[in-house]
Symmetry: C2
Subunit: 464 residues, 2 copies
């Protein structure tokens, strides 16, 4: 009979309207404590942060299986769900039978009761989802992804899958991974096209952005967004960069830079708000143990009107302050993280959208403003993180876009299909890129990108 | 004033409870027809399959912009939303002003009114989202992706992102893309490790499945699923294979093969049902122009109990039939598409789940049954498509799994972290892989995988 009984997830069990005569719970042992005539097991099944307490009375059949039960062991308990007399949990389980699926030898199981460093836990990335912090981080990751999909769907945006393998290079030059089926121990003979015998017959790379392809889809479906992995072969080891990360890129026809500022502000506030509402226990953990003051800070962001500031004014503010920066501030230079953080943390104390950047420091596809010097670009900056979103209105005028490509020393012919969008029924359109891991770092307070990705990829690091 | 007015998407406009004095609609011209004193424009903005009819009276300012308006041009109309006297649409727009964003030269714009072949449209994959069929296909793709997320979330599964770049090889050997930052024109000197100077310092590949990593997450979060791109470097040109495609892989702790059969049946029925309910116009188009009888067929699937059939019985049925097959049928051989289609289309006339395959033809991680000959694997087969889902209960016993790896001639040390899941708190667990494009082919009736992916990747084909 017990084998046929459906397991109840702990998240469900704790929400049941009333106690249950019979319930089956499975999970991993977090702790076990023995008292006279009883054992108390804290069981977690990953469905939520909360454990459920299992009480094993020496007068039940369950008691005989107890010798194998230590931290990390997995088991199935059948028993009664009763109201818990203690404070904290509403329910606890009085075990009738107990089946141990797998033990965890205390001599070798790395996750003992004590707290471990993030650095150590990265070396056992296959086990860290069993800890409170990483379990919480990955549940937040899941719910945040869903909130992103909800957000766009509510606004009539269609989810599109742009290609990961690409022959085009969106941002221009360098730092891409090449994809190949050629052997390493041969030099291709055809110098004109060394990729002649490669899978695609030409050079293939991993995408750095789905934007160009998303634009083609926006010209058909009106409003679209991508949500997929993107890649950078940058040999830099910082706490904010990974070689593989997920990016969200909305693209909207009949939209301007202003529309994207509003959309960027909306998505930031909406996702933050929904995660705080839907995963209060996880957020409390982060507030308590990871980044004290986190919840107050996030609530402040949700309630703030974001500052909108032309780049020229941002430079003025940064030039006048007495704060010391490592990197120089001057019109025509890009903002560094320290500048972004000064604006959001010190000066305005809330998120700031900087817009209308000098064209020299921005990509070719950004729309030239009437001043001929700046482009309709924006970066959305948030405290602690710096740039969360980068976007622009796209250049929809064929002649200007062609000239921008030529000015870069590139052949417009390579962009034939991208230029076709400007030849046939061109429309004003705009979009942005939002780094999903940056959003998660903002939400959780976790300050290393390696700790919001289940299996992070960085230089010389491909384990698991 | 008109510039400040918000645009209304056509999907929204057609759902408005009552006519509107002022409305702004933007879109691309599908057709234009002129009559005495009037022009009629069918405008589409991608928000839905339906066009909205715009009427331009010669006595309005809008009339003067009409000379630039042809098929494919983009424009913005401000006017009145009125009840439509004709049948079909509920509303039409009486234009007051009309602004043309971009023309489309009828001499060069490839998408004229006539019907184009799928083959031709693949060569202009950047423009085909503007056609009815591909617009519909990509809206279905978006809604189906959302339905998948909903499905799992409702059942307490967490969405996890497993790595795309991987050093491990899930299914064993071959057919993977290599990822590198090494130059093509040099042969690495270190023969022990030719990847010494590569980005990761070791061989890196594109994932063929997120399963092994998903298992580690299921051991922490209980129930998870991946939904991401996967890759095969198979040099085959069929209508069912692409080098890059999206896969959905649930993985559940405390679950058996039976649970996965039920989950596979549920997700198939649920997604089909929701798409038919939510996108009736798109589905009507596919039923009418792509696969006559499609809707009836899908409704039949939604209402059917799927057949569950041991592999041995499937072989028996296939051996006894008078139907002719190209490939031989015999115990110990894998089923080919023709066999799968015979079972679902001719014999049972509904989806069939074949289970308990001989261990020789299945992967090492599948759980050995008590007969020592078969493994707890299942394939869910559907009419027209063949295999939609492949899954198994995973081998959770350390000794048996280690032996299976050794029997393949592989070193268990390479799987240290995967085996750790069996060392520490091992539990019965199971999962499956569902090819998202196969699901879309089932839903839309489109029979070439290249036509359900915005920018398909196949051998020698990396355009866009």
């Amino acid at each position: 009979m017990h084998d046929l009984m459906m397991r109840t997830r702990i998240a469900q069990a704790l929400e049941l309207p009333e106690p249950q005569k019979d319930i089956k719970i499975s999970g991993w042992v977090r702790t076990r404590r023995d008292a006279k005539g009883f054992s108390f097991i804290e069981l977690n099944d990953g469905s939520c942060l909360n454990n459920i307490q299992v009480i094993v009375d020496e007068n039940t059949p369950a008691f005989s299986s107890l010798d194998k039960v230590g931290t990390g062991a997995s088991l199935e308990v059948v028993g009664e769900l009763v109201l818990s007399p203690g404070k904290g949990q509403r329910y606890e389980v009085k075990a009738q039978t107990l089946k141990v699926f797998g033990e965890a030898d205390p001599e070798t199981f790395p996750l003992q009761k004590k707290r471990h460093s993030d650095e150590f836990l990265r070396t056992i990335a296959h086990l860290r989802p069993r800890t409170n912090k990483y379990g919480a981080a990955f549940r937040v990751r899941s719910e945040a992804a869903f909130a992103v999909h909800e957000f766009f769907r509510e606004r009539g945006y269609f989810h599109v899958h742009t290609p990961i393998l690409t022959g085009s290079d969106c941002e221009g030059a360098g730092e891409m991974f090449r994809v190949t089926t050629l052997p390493t121990n041969e030099i291709p003979q055809n110098k004109e096209n060394p990729f002649e015998n490669d899978f695609f017959g030409c050079e293939a790379n991993l995408t750095v952005s789905g934007q160009l392809e998303a634009e083609t889809l926006a010209m058909g479906l009106g409003q679209v967004y991508t949500f997929g992995p993107t890649f950078r072969a940058e040999n830099s080891n910082t706490h904010r960069h990974a070689a593989e990360f997920w990016m969200i890129e909305p693209e909207a026809a009949f939209a301007t830079l202003d529309d994207m500022m509003t959309l960027g502000e909306d998505i930031t506030r909406t996702v933050l708000d929904r995660i705080m509402t839907r995963l209060p226990n996880e957020m409390e953990l982060f507030d308590k143990f990871v980044e004290p003051g986190l919840l107050e800070h996030l609530k402040h962001i949700v309630q703030s009107d974001f500052v909108k500031l032309p780049y020229s004014e941002a430079i003025e503010i940064l030039s006048k302050t007495k704060a010391k920066f490592e990197y120089p501030v001057s019109y025509g230079l890009d903002l560094q993280t320290e500048h972004e953080r000064y604006l959001t943390e010190q000066h305005f104390k809330k998120p700031v959208i900087v817009y209308d950047y000098p064209k020299q420091i921005k990509a070719f596809y950004m729309r030239l403003n009437d001043d001929q010097q700046t482009v309709a670009a924006m970066d959305l900056l948030v405290p602690r993180i710096g740039e969360l979103i980068g976007g622009s209105q796209r250049e929809e005028r064929l002649d200007i876009l062609t000239k921008r490509i030529q000015d870069l020393g590139q052949d417009p012919e390579n962009y034939w299909w991208y230029l076709d969008l400007r030849r046939f029924g061109s429309v004003p359109h705009a979009g942005f890129g939002l780094g999903f891991e940056r959003l998660l770092m903002l939400i959780t307070g976790i300050n290393n990108i390696r700790d919001v990705i289940p299996f992070p990829r960085t230089p010389n690091n491909l384990e698991f």
